[in-house]
């Protein structure tokens, strides 16, 4: 268990600059972002496989900037497992301990312990090529566990598995963490993986830290339009919008005027007359009238239906005209709706988000 501090910078040969700082502790922290955002580089810098240009990395109170990977006491699980094809499952798991010249008896005990947790004892004699994807994944995790490191680093460990196995392994990793209680840093481009696994999420974009927060904070209080558009499935709806009436009205294209709830008028007033981006999550759009007084009814047209079984996604054009915004709503599966029909939907206006139209930064007041 340890605290891990990270405040550094890495310049790529092509001029791209990764610059991020945060601290994390004995919890699961997910680093998310689109490919090329620097998340894997960041993890490799922690592992010592990549140099940092400036700043420092602290693992458990020790500055490790100049320590080689083996002196950092971390264990890494790689995307395609990086198991040794010439070694058996047992040898793969024992590899790290053998290198450190632990006595044979202790090696056997520790490998056995890890194998029992992961239920792979029966695979000891097999070579990696004789294993299924999920089994390889377990062996790779076992190889990390036997080292009893200060922190585990996972580099997109599930991205090579099919969807079913992925959700299974996600549960496994979560259980594993509950059992071991170690610090885990987890890199993924899959927001579902990040939301379900992590206690803390670091969102990176183009080498910059955009938000470091709990999954709840990332989802409900995104710090930027990028974060809002990255989380949720389907992600948040956006529309260009202008603040009118001294902050009491949001004017959306298509002739839609939305009244701003009293609690938010003051902040909106500061942006009166300016172009902003309006955001609303699909679950905050309901067919017919909403469940609370804050829901505002709007006329629209149903463009598309996507039944998911548990609920149905409907794409609704709000208002009329070519510029009218199209929002996806999450509706009950039994809602009787037909594509093309005109209908009334309700928007939960106590849940909307506003973003600066230029920078994408969230415009947010106390408590929302």
């Amino acid at each position: 268990m340890c605290r891990l501090g990270f405040r550094c910078e890495h310049r790529y040969p092509d001029g791209f600059r990764l610059d991020a700082g945060f601290e994390l502790d004995e919890r699961v922290t997910a680093l998310v972002g689109p490919s090329g955002c620097g998340k894997s580089t960041l993890l490799r810098m922690v592992a010592g496989l990549e140099d940092i240009t400036a700043g420092e990395i602290v693992i458990g109170g020790t500055v490790v900037n100049h320590l080689p990977p083996r002196a950092r006491d971390i264990a890494m699980v790689f995307q395609d497992y990086a198991l040794y094809p010439h070694k058996s499952v047992y040898e793969n798991m024992a590899f790290g301990l053998k290198l450190r010249k632990h006595p044979e008896q202790e090696i056997r005990a520790r490998v056995g312990e890890a194998a029992a947790i992961l239920q792979i004892e029966h695979l000891y004699a097999r070579k990696p090529r004789e294993l299924s994807g999920g089994q390889r994944q377990r062996v790779a995790m076992g190889r990390a566990i036997v080292r009893k490191p200060k922190a585990f680093l996972f580099d997109e460990p599930l991205s090579n598995l099919d969807a079913l196995l992925r959700s299974e392994m996600r549960v496994e990793i979560k259980k594993l963490h509950q059992k071991l209680g170690e610090t885990i840093v987890y890199v993924t481009h899959d927001q579902v993986e990040a939301m379900t696994l992590a206690d803390r999420i670091v969102v990176l974009q183009a080498g910059n830290l955009i938000q470091y927060d709990t999954p709840d904070g990332i989802y409900n209080r995104p710090a930027a339009k990028f974060v809002a558009g990255f989380t949720g499935s389907p992600p948040m709806n956006f529309a260009a919008c202008r603040v009118g009436e001294g902050g009491r009205l949001l004017r959306l294209p298509g002739g839609i005027d939305l009244p701003v709830p009293a609690a938010r008028v003051e902040l909106c007033a500061q942006h009166a007359g300016r172009a902003v981006t309006f955001g609303l999550r699909p679950e905050h759009i309901a067919a017919g009238s909403g469940s609370s007084p804050a829901w505002t009814r709007v006329r629209g047209q149903l463009i598309l239906l996507e039944p998911l079984g548990s609920d149905t996604l409907g794409l609704v054009k709000l208002g009329a005209g070519d510029e009218a915004a199209e929002f996806t709503g999450r509706f009950p599966p039994d809602a009787a709706m037909r594509v093309g029909e005109n209908l009334e939907v309700s928007l939960a206006l106590d849940r909307f988000h506003l973003f600066d139209a230029d920078t994408g930064a969230a415009i947010r007041g106390e408590g929302w």
Binding site: F78, G96, R129
Partner: protein
């Protein structure tokens, strides 16, 4: 090794296929080729790894130097070796004065010439083998507590071993056939430096040589084809192993 040296290992009918002089040449060729490969393999592995894994100033220059024997006339390579290792050469003189070690015009010179001529082939195969090793396997070893040396011996080298063996076999085959540089630095001394190619060359110069050289030519063919085929097979097996996802 002489003809008599083979007698205990080779059944009589086979022994009769070649003359005692020819057996002597075969034995000498094997000794020369084994020595050449054995002595150059550590350097071949080191350079192959360096070429595959490291970038450093002067890399292309070093690469050119390694490949030079492939394109230089062997006689020129032999000449340069004479300049360096000759009794008055700057390295040869030193060796003879301080270590009482004479190289030129001994079988050691034949081995040296063979090693230099075969080196590009060896390094190329080894370099390819190291390049084919997944870098993440090496990185994983680093995070698991291996230093650079541990990583090399427990991950890189075992994974590249088929390619390393293939390189050694190719070099062995090439050494068995070395002629031009060998005759320059080692001369053509029966029982000392007269290897298979030199024996064939010598036989051809005497009357009826075409017919009498045929049996040694077959031996040379068999050795070369065998080394090539075995090398190719190993290289393919190594590739298959590495591409099988692990």
């Amino acid at each position: 090794m002489t003809a008599a040296g083979f007698a205990p290992f080779v059944p009589a009918p086979v022994l009769g296929l070649l003359s005692p002089e020819e057996w002597q040449a075969v034995g000498l060729s094997v000794l020369v080729a084994l020595t050449a490969v054995g002595a150059s393999l550590p350097f071949g592995i080191a350079l192959g790894w360096l070429m595959a894994r490291r970038d450093f100033p002067g890399k292309s220059l070093l690469e050119t130097a390694i490949h030079l024997p492939l394109v230089l006339p062997p006689v020129v390579t032999g000449y340069l070796l004479l300049v360096i290792f000759g009794r008055k050469g700057w390295l040869g003189g030193f060796l003879e004065r301080w270590l009482d070690l004479r190289i030129v015009f001994t079988w050691k010179a034949a081995a040296l010439a063979s090693a230099v001529m075969a080196f590009p082939l060896m390094v190329r195969a080894i370099r390819l083998a190291f390049s084919a090793v997944d870098r993440r396997l090496e990185l994983a070893a680093r995070t698991l507590g291996a230093g650079p040396v541990d990583t090399f011996f427990s991950v890189s080298l075992p994974l590249a071993r088929h390619g390393v063996l293939a390189g050694a076999l190719l070099a062995f085959g090439r050494s068995m056939g070395e002629f031009g540089a060998t005759i320059m630095v080692a001369g053509n001394i029966p029982g000392e430096t007269r290897t298979i190619p030199l024996e064939i060359y010598g036989t051809l110069e005497s009357p009826g040589g075409m017919e009498r050289a045929a049996s040694l030519v077959v031996v040379a063919l068999l050795v070369s084809v065998g080394a090539l085929a075995a090398g190719e097979l190993l290289e393919r097996r190594g590739r298959a192993r590495l591409t099988a996802k692990g």
